[in-house]
Amino acid sequence: MSWGYLLRRLAQLVPTSALILLVGFALIHLAPGDPVLALAGEHGDAEYYDFMRAKFGLDQPLHEQLFTFVANMAHGDLGTSYVQGRPASQIILERLPATLLLTATALTIASILGLGFGIFTATRRRAWQDTTATTVLLATYAAPVFLIGQALILLFALGAGWFPVQGMTSAVTPSNSFGHAVDVAHHLVLPALVLAAPEVAVIGRLTRVGLLQELGSDHVRTARAKGSPPSIVVAKHALRGAVMPVVTVIGNRVAHLASGAVVVEVVFGWPGMGRLLVDALRDQDSPIILGIFLLVSLTVMTANLLTDLVYVWLDPRVLFS
């Protein structure tokens, strides 16, 4: 892999993001609905609506609104939220840490559990453990996120009382930072598990298939013939080849996590970016909507780039030019 390749890939981010923003802008402004209606609610008179439209520049022709938007974007300015009267970037960044914590935890859980399940089932092929685990994974994958969410809340939060029902912290705040961390971790368990659940299934099943293929391959047979213990055979010889497709999938699942986070954040009252997006869509608050579009698309593109780089590291035969 050359530095030129990396630079080219990075340079591609710019036109792709610009295109995404342009499509997003068109979708929001050409779709029916009016942010001033969403903002003002009922009871205004014509004068009021005209005043508010002028205030937000929504009385301008669409191409002029687009020009203003592009000019602002060129300075890194996403614009001011109609509802909150603050820079959209500031509002989004406030909510970002909660979503990052949730999705990163979910991705970690999904990767660990997924690989674990994959190895567990591949090494017990056609045994009852394999069948059971595979069926459970399939069900997890098929069930909608909000259903799993509500079920876990009823079982473990309201039923057993092990976890809080919603939120990121308790209403009564712990006095020290360690207590606060434990409090957040306690609130994180259920939403992270729910968000991770379908990913565990995807990663688990893929690992199983990859590993089964590798376990039947020549180099693994050779390793066995040389007398390596089964655990070493799996860990050292088979797993490396088996995780190649898994790495691709983990990278690609970032987009799924981002959309799954929206539902999970609503069900669990998690104060992240996904819920901000839901509110902004309801209010037609386009600076926030476009800002989140941009951030999510940049994240997904970066994840894809990283996936490609990890590929090279795992398998030096893969060459990019």
Partner: protein, 540 residues
Amino acid sequence: MLRRGSALVVSAVLLVSCSTTEGTPQPAADSPVQGGTLVAAISADPGQLNPAITTSGDVHTASELMYNGLVSLTPDREPVGELAESWDVEDNGALYRFHLREGVTWHDGEPFTSADVKFSFEKVLLKYHSRTAASVGQALESISTPDERTVEFRFKEPYAPFPLQLDVTEAPIIPEHIYAGTDPLENPANLEPVGTGPFAFESYKPGAEIRLVRNPDYFIDGQPLLDEVVLRVIPDAESQVIALEAGEVDWLFGVPGADLARLEEDGGFEFLRTNVNPGGSNCIMTVSFNLEKPVFQDVRTRRAVATAINSQQFVDRVLFGQGKVAEAPISSGIDFAHADDLSGMPTYDKQAAEDLLDAAGWIRQGDGTRVAQGVQGIPDGTPLSFGFTLFTSFAAYGDLFKAQLADVGIDVELDPQEPDIFAETVFVDRDFDSNIISYCNGADPEIGVKRMYVSSTIGPVPFSNAAAYSNPMVDSLFDQARTTVDPGERGEVYRQIQEILVEDLPYFWVVETEATRVYSSRCGGFSQAGHFAEAAYCRQ
């Protein structure tokens, strides 16, 4: 296996560290106690906390405890002094002089004066608060402040509804020393409010919670009782109920009808029925007939539809009892204006509906549907079928409406839409046959009733005159009501208006909706809206 084992250890640790002691259920606390924290659930992140620049229910729910109006409204919707101690009405209702309370301070210690009131109205409320701007703004001539404790509002002509438009929902007063010379939509104080209300701002975590603390200098002696109010953002209604059951929150502003019966059976909770909400009070689910469409030109057809509607079924099946059958165009919550024994008000009578349809020229066919035979403006043989536009969240109303009208041979096509698209379809494009809207009447007919009926509000303004109803008599009666100050005489004018409306039937008023506040039995002393926790208390 090691990982699984350690996960168990972690959950065991969490279990121990976070288990709560469950006390035995206490009987309803009837004697107030000082101190304690109330945790209330709110449905949406407000985004900002200045109630003067918006009518958003989310913002008002989250911020009204920190502010005051010149008056507050009693449960019977009577105005009583809040920031104003008293007021005089002169010039037959064209001049209102308010005498402000002594010794009120803002949460930052600055004194509250008449200049704050003048500033709040002129620079903020009359520009950004859509309801106040559209009503008071049109009628007001000037505001003057003869001294620090006196404010005078002069109107172009007598303006009767004014005292009902001065509570913390319609006209919250904000501090001039913080907002003067700034854009009120972008002032940082919108996120760290400074008010005069019973609770002062403590912190705001966007999307998560708003914390308020007791205002020790509040001008009402002995209030508030609570040390702290925490407003937790829980967007999902089911999750709110579960959080209440799990003891994570003490107060819900509303509860889905289906969960209400379960909470009532479970015990441990108290209930408060109300038709008052910070986003709008005295709401009536109202069917609008688009009078520009040929199918609704004949009042007999409109009366037939209204008579085929069984409103009680809406109360039972859609609202699960949280509401009542509407008896008049004006809500029963506006006592002086509501007419409760209107002879022309349609009530459910299937046979009468069938007869009216026959008389209007809509004749039953063998398969039960009706087709036009001599209906004016409609070719013979056209089936009786029309669209019904509604918010997606009102789907249950649509299903029942369709079923009830099918019973008399009318075919209804449901057209669910998101709220802002609905507003555009109905009020800008006028591309609909009939619809259902939750029209909130507010504390006075001038706020939320007039807009539905006067001919000047036909046009692109959302949630105004959906039917495109125009009757010069009704127009002039509404003008008369606005300038009639005596409540008895004013009520009589509104009765005349309602008598005309139930004959003309540009709309049909189906049900008055109510919300049910639910709270933990260890708490008490709540009021309906606005300052719901001003006098509340919670045993810890």
